[in-house]
Symmetry: C2
């Protein structure tokens, strides 16, 4: 089990593989972001995107899927996340793209009021098959401290 004491500032990880499909892009956008350029090539043609591209929220959700798969490998004593900062959509994500994640632990802070936990911040970058960064986010995680040996 990985506790707060085990979180290493500066540690980098590289993981995940997500194939973006046209069907999934349209399905997500239909439910949660039905702007025309996320629904068809025709509507996207005259926009910045040029052709059908994924909703930014879909892109974030695909990253989350890879983070969860990676965390379940690590067995972290995680307590969830209060949120995130500096989410930036840098480039469009298109059907056919294959995404992966690179992440780095930026800093960690023990809780002042709750000795049983601490927080850490990670910068995660989503990268496509051409090694282009398409999204970056600074996420905050909460994690248990190591229980005292009794």
């Amino acid at each position: 089990m990985m506790y707060f004491e085990d979180v290493e500032v500066g540690r980098r990880s590289s993981f995940g593989r997500y194939e973006v499909t046209r069907e999934e892009v349209i399905e997500f956008a239909s439910k949660y972001d039905p702007q025309p350029f996320h629904l068809s090539d025709e509507a996207a043609e005259s926009t910045y995107f040029g052709r059908l591209s994924a909703s930014g929220w879909h892109t974030a959700a695909m990253m989350m899927r890879m983070l969860v798969e990676n965390l379940s490998d690590i067995q972290q004593a995680g307590l969830g996340s209060p949120g995130l900062d500096e989410l930036r959509w840098l480039k469009p994500v298109y059907p056919g793209d294959v995404l992966r994640v690179e992440s780095e632990v930026i800093d960690k802070t023990p809780s002042r009021s709750r000795p049983e936990m601490g927080s850490f911040r990670s910068r995660a970058t989503l990268i496509n098959q051409d090694d282009v960064a398409v999204m970056t986010v600074l996420s905050i995680g909460l994690v248990r401290t190591r229980p005292p040996v009794s």
Copy 2:
């Protein structure tokens, strides 16, 4: 059409209605955030959440749906979003909750390099049926300036 010049700093809006269902919570989490406490009451019982709750990314996606519906009413000359800051998940979102959005324009900035556009920041808060804020986010929007009269 609503252009950059029409964006009013301090303007507040209240809109949307989204009923959270158990089926949708499990469907989203299965695809994008398959942590056990987002998949069943049993797995959530011993956690902070107490019972099945929506993925934070699902919560964000539900907010986006309401924002898009509201924007399509306004006919804004929008150019998409480069990202967001200070997303915070404040309280769990449970099946049966009914969500709405309150938003306020915080500031606006003309582009220094591109006179045909500007950006503005809005603070959006997602509120449940008990008037409890469950999520807040500071989003950045890009919008066209009014075309010169020729």
